[in-house]
């Protein structure tokens, strides 16, 4: 086969990947049996620090996953990471995708959803691309309160081609409305927002969306799906394109992925959606069936004029999200959301009462918020990790002047006694530092 490919060794097949990005030699002894290898890996895994209590969020959250999600998503007929083209032998998977899309539409209030993309950041970047294509404009106005990872992905997507990205710096952990609106007025393609934003602040962007529309721009948003159960929906806020990270819907944190990017849009934009879309139809005998539809948008048909180069979805993760949403239901998701918010409010009260702790958000928050102390955020997190608590995300790496800020998050799994314990440890630590 190497001869047929015209290369002399396996190594040559990886020539396109820069050497510094390759994994290199594994630090394992050669010639071990499978059993020995397993034992070695288990020993390594046992070394990983697993803090007993975690308040780490920042876009990815430790929500409870009912056992049925694992049991159902691992059924042989479902267990595929790939999109099924052959509808005659993929009805179950296609129906699941169709129902997943329906659940995303219900959650966001939007008219059409695709079968998912890789993650929340990709979804937002693809959504922003939709706006650029639809408007034929190149100016993208993004809120600096977007998840910094998402901002990087959007910037990477728009780094080639005739685009201009204008980022508006946060104002008190929230959108700087006046500056943002002023930028939109200059012929923007898209207003890119997130709710709740990276700092946990909840906002009603109706006025900003209106400003975007009167400037001829589209409004693109990223929405935490659990929060969406409680907040004014993206559709009611007037957004044209709603995207988000679906990890919270029954998908494990797993050290960074695989995750799930969901995308939905108004009916007029359905054909501008990228990626796979499952549709319902009738077969020649009039029986209901499911297919991949509107494929003329995609690159295998439309080549370089396709709506996107994205050509796969997160089938298994989308399936898990569907199973999760079906299990918890509308009421259950609201309960998850309410509990997460209530725990966060309790923690905000507890931490806010500690001398030397300042809560940075001025506006309402959902399940996370930012607090400052006199200690650098990274040092505070290290100290708390020593006490078995992962206390959040240090913001210094993402925002200049935020070296003493920590973003902390809560879910329905955060126990009151754990929050109390953290508050005590934090108070003790800060007292000693003084």
């Amino acid at each position: 086969m190497l001869d047929a490919c015209g290369v002399s060794g396996v190594e040559d097949l990886f020539a396109d990947i820069p050497a510094d990005l390759r994994a290199g030699e594994l630090a394992l002894e050669k010639g071990k049996s499978e059993f020995e290898l397993m034992r070695e890996m288990e020993k390594l895994a046992a070394n990983c620090p697993t803090p007993g209590i975690s308040f780490t969020g920042g876009g990815f959250y430790d929500h409870f996953i009912p056992s049925a999600v694992d049991a159902l998503s691992q059924m042989g007929g479902f267990l595929t990471a790939y999109t099924p083209y052959q509808s005659e032998c993929s009805q179950g998977t296609l129906q699941a995708l169709y129902e997943y899309q329906t659940s995303i539409c219900r959650l966001t209030g939007m008219a059409a959803a695709n079968a998912s993309v890789y993650d929340g950041g990709t979804a937002l970047a693809e959504g922003t691309m939709m706006a650029a294509r639809k408007t034929g404009r190149g100016k993208i106005v993004i809120d600096g309160c977007l998840n910094p990872l998402y901002r990087d992905i959007v910037k990477t997507y728009f780094s080639s081609g005739d685009f201009e990205i204008v980022e508006i710096a946060p104002l008190n952990c929230a959108l700087d409305r006046e500056k943002f609106k002023a930028e939109l007025a200059g012929g923007a393609a898209a207003a890119v927002l997130q709710n709740p934003n990276f700092f946990g602040t909840v906002d009603d962007y109706s006025d900003v969306v209106k400003a975007a529309h009167s400037a001829g721009a589209l409004a693109v948003g990223s929405f935490y799906p659990v929060a969406a159960a409680l907040l004014k929906s993206p559709a009611d806020t007037g957004f044209d394109i709603a995207t988000g990270e679906g990890q919270s819907l029954g998908i494990r944190l797993s050290f960074g992925g695989p995750y799930l990017g969901y995308m939905a849009a108004t009916s007029g934009l359905a054909r501008n959606l990228p990626g796979r879309i499952a549709g319902a139809t009738n077969d020649e005998k009039g029986r209901r069936g499911f297919v991949l539809t509107l494929q003329a948008r995609e690159q295998h048909i439309r080549r370089e004029r396709a709506s996107s180069n994205i050509c796969s979805n997160q089938n298994l993760c989308a399936l898990r999200a569907l199973i999760y949403l079906s299990l918890v239901g509308k009421k259950g998701l609201r309960e998850v959301a309410s509990l997460s918010r209530d725990k966060s409010e309790y923690a905000k009260e507890r931490l806010g009462a500690i001398g030397g702790v300042t809560i940075k958000n001025n506006a309402p928050t959902f399940n996370e918020f930012v607090f400052d102390t006199a200690v650098p955020g990274t040092a505070l997190l290290d100290a708390m990790a020593e006490r078995g608590i992962a206390a959040g995300v240090a913001l210094g790496a993402f925002y200049e002047g935020c070296e003493k800020s920590v973003l902390i998050s809560f879910t329905e799994k955060s126990r009151k006694e754990d929050i109390d314990l953290f508050a005590e440890k934090l108070e003790e630590f800060l007292r000693k530092k003084r």
């Binding site: 054909r271 003329a296 948008r297 048909i301 439309r302 004029r305």
Partner: protein, 124 residues
């Protein structure tokens, strides 16, 4: 009103400075059932040869090119809900856009109906 054709199978009917454009019966036959027409926007200026809009059929998504330089004055919004009009009546009811033609000699370099028939025959 005179009708002219391009090698990409668009037609344009010209009367003075006003025109109408669409795609030929031959093109429609090649495409098969048309399922969606992504219409251009009225008011848009187009130069000869640029992509004006896209027509999706059961077989392909095809770009439609401007036969002449013009300003689009009106689009056939009936195609939004009834793209099949293009199959049924490609050179009448299935028109795509009405144009205000920029160049009075715009038809130069385009084929007459008789020339186009010959051209299509040569395609086999």
């Amino acid at each position: 009103m005179d009708i002219f054709y391009t090698k990409d199978h668009e037609w344009v009917k010209v009367e003075g400075r006003s025109g109408v454009m669409g795609i030929s019966a031959y093109a429609v036959k090649q495409l098969g059932d048309i399922t969606y027409v992504e219409l251009p926007e009225a008011g848009k200026e187009i130069t000869k040869g640029v992509v004006v809009c896209t027509v999706e059929s059961v077989k392909a998504a095809s770009d439609i090119y401007a036969p002449v330089a013009a300003k689009i004055t009106e689009v056939n919004s009936a195609l939004e809900s009834a793209p099949e009009k293009m199959n049924a009546s490609p050179e009448e009811e299935g028109w795509i856009a009405k144009l205000e033609i920029s160049d009075p000699d715009a038809s130069k370099g385009l084929m007459t109906a008789a020339q186009y028939d010959e051209f299509v025959k040569s395609l086999g």
